[in-house]
């Protein structure tokens, strides 16, 4: 049985009724909710569009440091990378695996990093070569909020990657703020804290979920909610 015939057989099998069931932190509390196939496909479409607008293309190398529980937010990004034809390299986001991140950056022409975290950077800072040297040729770094302060004046194009309640928020190099898919999510600021609601029907309904992240909505523009974050380096 070839890979193609196995894939064809798998496609013909009855499909589960939902793309996935999630149990994960959403803002200040743990929520369990379902993600449907349609909304997953829409999330992949949005991620693909954003990644392409950031300059990623077929054949690029992207290092991703994400953890499995983040799947609701990051699976669409990974699927979008596949669609684009990006080759992605995986390393754990925790400090014990920072040497793998270092090895990839020293040995391969990594164009972008997705999900770089503070733990990884703290471990890299204690080792050689210097972080600035490791990131010198990386064109885009999607960094977690706890990594942003480490990266001031270090990496050429650092933009935020954060979990905004149930929504994914990503920066785009050369553009202000972070973007959230406006066709899926409505974002408001209440006393400086960002809250997120569904903008359209999804299997799970969120209504003004507090995110624990401070910021304000700059604009809703070209299909994206553009948010100014209140955090160091953002």
């Amino acid at each position: 049985m070839s890979r193609a015939s196995m894939t064809a057989a798998a496609v013909a099998l009855p499909r589960s009724p939902v793309f996935g069931i999630v149990s994960c932190p959403v803002g200040p509390e743990t929520r369990e909710f379902e993600i449907g196939w349609d909304e997953h496909e829409r999330d992949v479409d949005w991620a693909e569009s954003l990644l392409r607008s950031a300059g990623l293309g077929s054949g690029d190398l992207v290092l991703i440091t994400i953890s499995t529980w983040e799947g609701p937010w990051t699976t669409p990004v990974v699927h979008a990378l596949r669609r684009i034809g990006v080759t992605f390299l995986c390393a754990e986001v925790w400090s014990f695996d920072s040497r793998r991140t270092s090895m990839f950056l020293q040995r391969l022409p990594v164009k972008a990093i997705f999900g770089l975290g503070g733990e990884t950077l703290t471990a890299l800072e204690a080792d050689e070569p210097p972080v600035a040297e490791l990131l010198r040729d990386v064109e885009i770094v999607w960094a977690r909020p706890d990594a942003l302060p480490h990266l001031e004046d270090v990496a050429p194009q650092v933009v935020p990657f954060l979990l905004l309640g149930p929504a994914l928020a990503l920066g785009v190099p050369g553009q202000p703020g972070v973007k959230v898919d406006a066709s899926e999510w409505a974002v408001d600021s209440v006393n400086g804290e960002l809250v997120v609601s569904n903008a359209r029907e999804r299997l799970a309904t969120f209504e003004r979920v507090p995110t624990g992240i401070r910021g304000s909505v700059r604009a809703v523009d070209d299909g994206a909610v553009v948010i100014d974050l209140e955090m160091n380096g953002a």
């Binding site: 090895m103 020293q106 040995r107 080792d127 050689e128």
Partner: protein, 137 residues
């Protein structure tokens, strides 16, 4: 001195004061381990560390055939050494502390025991040692 045997014939020259890995060449391309029937080539004994990782727990057996137990297992490092102008060779390293290994450092081939058979025979395999470690010893 215990009786010794090599883990596999044809991997490296042994016994030898300066052992070398045995590769082969076909159509100008090197292969290690050597492919039967091809021209034999002795590889450089020194190279640079290309990349590495550490084995922190006892691997499943087989293929691992150490004579230790999960409790007695000693972590080791392994990775690739780039032999200049030749190829990358996967090998164990004599240094198991990852903080004492760095990409690009000079490494030299050595032959080390890696297990002991029930009859007491010591089994030898090839490994690479950091050149500064060898100098210190």
């Amino acid at each position: 001195m215990p009786q010794q045997e090599v883990v596999s014939e044809g991997l490296f020259t042994w016994p030898s004061e300066e052992p070398s890995l045995i590769a082969s060449r076909r159509d100008g391309e090197l292969s290690f381990p050597a492919r039967p029937g091809d021209e034999t080539v002795l590889l450089s004994r020194r190279g640079t560390l290309w990349g590495f990782t550490t084995q922190q727990f006892r691997p499943p057996s087989p293929p691992y055939d150490g004579n230790d137990t999960p409790e007695a297992f000693e972590p080791y490092a392994l990775g690739y050494v780039e032999l200049p102008g030749e190829l990358l060779v996967q090998a164990r390293f004599t240094e198991s502390d990852p903080t004492r290994l760095r990409i690009g450092q000079e490494m030299e081939l050595c032959i080390v025991p890696y297990t002991i058979r029930p009859d007491g025979t010591e089994v030898l395999t090839y490994a690479f040692a950091p050149v500064d470690e060898k100098a210190a010893s």
